[in-house]
């Protein structure tokens, strides 16, 4: 008997005959349905739904569930086995999706069907445990069938993983994105009007170049492009400087630097912008100083591109740093030593060996910076002035007075096109060279000291930057302790009391502060989504780098898609897609978790890819040759070498879940309110004190969690000599 196939089949039958088919109203995890089980119309499994409640459209699924039973005892190599499994999986999936999408909460979903068959007289709700199990069973039976035919060396784990990731990406990225982008071709009454698309696409406010000649605004597409390129370039350079400082020099305050560089990433969106206004705004401290010294009025110079550039560089340098540090660490000292043995100087070694080996990291950092900048919403909103960009325009096309979802979709398509181009350019640049430097061979070299020029450059760019970051954070922390930030600086604890007070009431401790509710939800949702995000992301990276299968490039792009699309579009897309059956998730915590997983998994993927391209495939092959399964290989060989990537993915997804705003704002509900949406509400009302107090608490929490993650995951141990010189000879290495 074929055990994996039998297992998945058992899951399918269990879902069909035992578990409640439809989603239960009190939430996915509530057990209230047990009262009604198994004969209640809401909690009955599919089998009883057919027999007792006449939901005949569920009946055809019996066939694909029954057919594999017949071949279960046949050997895996029997062509009949694979053929039956493939057919059962495919037919089952078609029936499953068909009934889900054709019959909804109002009976037939399409008027044509109602015309053909007459009114249905029944309706169905979102899918629940039963439906989920059956869907999973069909998916994996299909994958088993493929593996049995010999796909990917007949490796069931790999085929199953590919199928799973494709199904998840299709359901939670493509489906909602298509739902919203389709509105680019619709007018406001949801009619199909293709010429509107053309009209909106070529509007002058998107592509206008008037700013080159007169004092008017340029098209938002050009603005966004310019901004994204500048930000990506500056974050990559600074990220590299930080990564080199942290790993290759004897810089004493490394840990502090690491922490400082991570701070901006853990800051709720608007806070940096606000601090920049207090420093550089028309009445800001720095501006006032310039006024007193020079006697001129600089005015509103910060609003527009300069402000956004500054704020985004502050905010996204840490991401570049996180992507790059693993790569910089991974560059093999042996190569550098070889270069030196061949009489190349430090500088030559750096530019011709080290730097080219970092190309995957640099390209990924640039790409991530580019995409982040395009999708960023908070900083352009606060500091943009009249410099309009795509992300804010999209947000206000949806929630603003013009209320034009079609325009938002058109702008989102433009944004996607930019991302696509960047993605393609990155592929071209990296080419098909090998960047593997972590191999199974002895690699016990010492890193060559960096050329002095590079060290100075790294210090010169990273330290002032770190200084600015420190100033801004001191200001922010300070803002939580004063009556009215920027106006009345008498010290107070009032804001912290309002947000986080605990009183003793009748039932023991009462969490009476206004922020507790959203605070706990946020922590809880973030802690659940972080490991899941890292797992999905790294699994995907493994599939992309280590396996070869048809459609790999499309697959890779699909996983990057959700990252490239602005949160607002994803948020509204999620409501459009998941508010009605078959997948009904709005108002739950699950929709938030899912949204975070699929929005943040690209970072896991990127970090994983960057790190994995450095690990030689011979290590995997050695493990496989010695008889380990591919799962064991991933767990015992690849994963330990990926520790920096694991940390990056965990940290990033946790932090992003805690600080994301634009998608979340549409998905929060009464029981699942998130910290950022609460803070934004307070900011809208001008309660900066409480918002900053709350943000400061979040920052502290995130620092603690990041340290815990590093402690738990641990460091990657590559068999290299400990470099005593770097530890003790800081002076020697630097100057």
């Amino acid at each position: 008997m074929n055990r994996p196939a039998a297992l998945w089949l058992a899951l399918g039958w269990g879902g069909f005959a035992l578990l409640p088919w439809y989603g239960v109203e009190d939430g996915f995890w509530s057990l209230a349905w047990l009262f009604d089980y198994p004969a209640g119309a809401d909690a009955a499994p599919a089998l009883l739904q057919i027999l007792l409640f006449g939901r005949w459209w569920l009946a055809p699924m019996v066939l694909p569930l029954a057919a594999p039973l017949l071949v279960l005892r046949r050997p895996r190599t029997d062509p009949l086995f694979s053929r039956v499994l493939l057919a059962a999986g495919a037919v089952g999936a078609v029936f499953f999706l068909g009934q889900g999408f054709l019959i909804g909460i109002g009976g037939w979903e399409y008027a044509t069907l109602e015309g053909l068959f007459g009114p249905l007289g029944d309706r169905q709700f979102g899918m629940g445990y039963g439906a989920l199990s059956v869907a999973a069973a069909f998916l994996f039976l299909f994958a088993q069938g493929l593996a049995a035919r010999g796909a990917i060396n007949g490796d069931g784990f790999v085929v199953g993983s590919i199928a799973l990731v494709i199904a998840l990406v299709a359901a939670f990225i493509f489906f909602p994105v298509v739902r919203i982008l389709a509105s680019a071709f619709q007018d406001n009454d949801y009619n199909f009007v293709p010429y509107l698309f053309v009209e909106k696409l070529f509007s002058h406010d998107i592509w206008g170049v008037g700013c080159l000649t007169a004092n008017v605004n340029c098209g938002i597409a050009w603005n966004s492009l310019l901004m994204a390129i500048l930000v990506a370039a500056s974050t990559t350079v600074l990220g590299l400087a930080f990564a080199l400082l942290a790993t290759r020099t004897g810089f004493r305050a490394k840990r502090l630097l690491r922490l400082l560089s991570v701070l901006p990433i853990i800051t709720p969106p608007f806070v940096i912008g606000l601090a920049i206004i207090l420093l550089f705004g028309a009445s800001g401290t720095v501006t006032q100083a310039i006024e007193t010294i020079t006697g001129t009025t600089p005015g509103r110079y910060i609003y527009g591109l300069p402000g956004i550039w500054l704020a985004q560089t502050l905010a996204f340098t840490p991401i570049a740093f996180l992507v790059l540090i693993g790569v910089v660490e991974g560059v093999s000292p042996s190569m550098e030593e070889a270069s030196q043995t061949l009489r190349a100087g430090n500088w030559r070694t750096f530019t011709t060996v080290s730097l080219p080996l970092m190309r995957p990291g640099l390209a990924n950092a640039f790409l991530v910076g580019f995409i982040e900048s395009l999708a960023d919403f908070g900083n352009p909103l606060v500091l943009g002035g009249n410099f309009d960009v795509l992300s804010t325009s999209i947000f206000f096309a949806i929630v603003g007075a013009q209320n034009d979802q079609g325009r938002a979709a058109v702008l989102a398509i433009i944004l996607l096109a930019f991302t696509l181009t960047a993605f393609w350019a990155q592929h071209r640049w990296l080419g098909h060279k090998s960047y593997a430097t972590v191999t199974g061979k002895g690699d016990a070299g010492l890193h060559v000291p960096l050329p002095r020029r590079v060290v100075w450059l790294a210090y010169g760019s990273a330290l002032p930057w770190a200084g600015l970051t420190a100033v801004i954070y001191c200001m922010i922390m300070f803002g939580g302790f004063v009556e009215l930030w920027g106006r009345d600086h008498s010290l107070t604890l009032r804001h912290y009391m309002d947000a986080f007070s605990i009183t003793t009431g009748t039932g023991g401790l009462v969490w009476s502060g206004a922020a507790w509710n959203s605070f706990w939800t946020t922590i809880y949702i973030s802690l659940i989504s972080a490991p899941l995000t890292a797992a999905v992301g790294l699994l995907t990276a493994y599939l992309l780098i280590r396996q070869k299968f048809a459609g790999q490039q499309a697959f890779e792009f699909g996983t990057m898609l959700s990252f490239a699309i602005p949160g607002t579009v994803i948020g509204v897309g999620y409501i459009l897609a998941f508010n009605v059956p078959p997948i009904e998730l709005t108002g739950t915590g699950i929709i938030l978790v899912i949204c975070f997983i699929f929005r943040n998994m690209p970072v896991g993927v990127r970090a994983g890819i960057a790190a994995m391209t450095q690990i030689d495939k011979s290590l995997d092959e050695a493990s496989l040759t010695l008889g380990a399964s591919s799962f064991a290989t991933v767990r015992k060989v690849v994963l330990p070498l990926l520790r920096p990537a694991v940390i990056a993915a965990l940290v990033f997804s946790f932090v992003r879940a805690m600080t994301a705003i634009s998608a979340v704002i549409f998905l929060v509900s009464a029981n699942y309110d998130m910290a950022t949406s609460y803070i934004i509400g307070r900011v809208e009302n001008g309660d900066y004190g409480l918002s900053i107090a709350y943000s400061s608490v979040l920052i502290v929490v995130m620092v603690v969690v990041i340290l815990l993650i590093q402690l738990v995951v641990g460091e990657r141990r590559i068999g290299r000599r400990e470099d005593m010189n770097v530890a003790f000879g800081a002076g020697g290495a630097v100057g």
Binding site: G27, S283, R300, L484, I575, L576, A670
Partner: protein, 344 residues
């Protein structure tokens, strides 16, 4: 492979099981979409739960976000009632048939403007408060730059104010759209657009959000902001040097409204909420939550800081015409084509 997925599932379950919704057996349920500031929302929810025993699940989002959400959820509405926030999107929702007609027994107690707006919307929305449009300026900054205090709309187009005025972009903000519609009603369409062109030269930034100009003004980032007067009051009460002007030509106003969402799951509770929201006692409590609008029930006492509507020259704002999407599109397109493309 199984162990891998098993561990994934275990992580997920271990976390999520703790979140099991605690089912409360209350007198009823109500899902509230709330658009004003959170304190006011929380105060209302507390009082409503106390007086009716109905359990309220409240989500706070700005009115634009709420409208977008209700639109996206239209095939399977999840909310029951939408309370507060600019009247403009409430009227749009009424026009698109997203909200439900309801005549509260409290209707006769309301001020004229509130009754008129309810009639014009076909009783699909009803006003709970009003706020007049106005001009706020930072008196310290005005003195520093030696700019005179504006008195009328027409003042704002004078060259003295170049680079000193901020208003929101009417494409993104309901406040700014109300401004545009007000100007058109005060001056007539042709002269109104001449005014907007003149104003455009003096604008230093069109912000995205409606109340952003007065917040910028409070922090000294701009001298003058065109906003709703109660938003300016909020900044002044906080301690910023903000002064408020009601333009001499007359000014428009918004009506913050409450609407019952069509197809909601608890329509009876929603009706109770509307009656509750129109109760003079409840409306009087608004000041506790730092809301300085004028309540719609004539028996309610306005907060002492609220701009006195009887002292302000209010125009007879035509909510039916300027709240309709056709007129809105036309005016916004005209503003886009004729005003926003001009050099400054």
């Amino acid at each position: 492979m199984r162990r891998f997925y098993l561990s994934l599932v275990t992580i997920a379950i271990a976390g999520l099981v703790a979140a099991t919704a605690n089912t409360t057996f209350a007198a009823g349920k109500l899902t509230l979409y709330c658009s004003p500031q959170i304190e006011w929302c929380q105060l209302m929810v507390k009082e409503f739960e106390k007086s009716t025993g109905i359990k309220v699940a409240m989500t706070r989002k700005s009115s634009g976000e709420t409208f977008a959400q209700i639109k996206a959820e239209r095939r399977n509405p999840k909310g029951d009632v939408w309370w507060g926030g600019t009247g403009d999107p409430h009227l749009q929702a009424a026009e698109e048939g997203l909200t439900q007609e309801y005549k509260s027994p409290r209707l006769p107690e309301l001020q004229d403007w509130a009754r008129r707006q309810a009639e014009q919307s076909g009783f699909k929305t009803v006003g709970i408060y009003a706020g007049a449009l106005g001009v706020g300026y930072n008196s310290e900054l005005a003195a520093k730059h030696k700019v005179p205090a504006p008195k009328c709309w027409a003042d704002l187009t004078k060259p003295a104010y170049k680079g000193h005025v901020q208003m929101a972009n009417p494409n993104s903000s309901g406040t700014a759209y109300t401004t545009l519609a007000t100007i058109v009603q005060v001056f007539g369409e042709e002269k109104g657009f001449e005014f907007m062109k003149g104003l455009h030269k003096n604008i230093n930034q069109y912000t995205k959000s409606g109340s952003a100009p007065i917040k910028a003004s409070a922090r000294g980032e701009t001298t003058i902001g065109i906003v709703f007067q109660h938003d300016a009051v909020t900044q002044a009460v906080k301690g910023f040097p903000i002064k408020i002007v009601s333009p001499c030509e007359g000014t428009g106003y918004e009506i913050g409204s409450v609407s019952i969402i069509k197809g909601g799951r608890n329509p009876e509770s929603a009706k109770k909420w509307v009656d509750f929201a129109l109760d003079p006692k409840i409306q009087t409590m608004a000041a506790q939550a730092k809301a300085y609008q004028v309540p719609s029930n004539s028996k309610a006492t306005p907060p002492p800081q609220a701009p006195d509507l009887s002292q302000i020259k209010l125009i007879d704002y035509n909510f039916k015409k300027y709240g309709s999407s056709a007129e809105r599109r036309r005016l916004l397109k005209k503003w886009d084509d004729d005003v926003s493309t001009l050099p400054r």
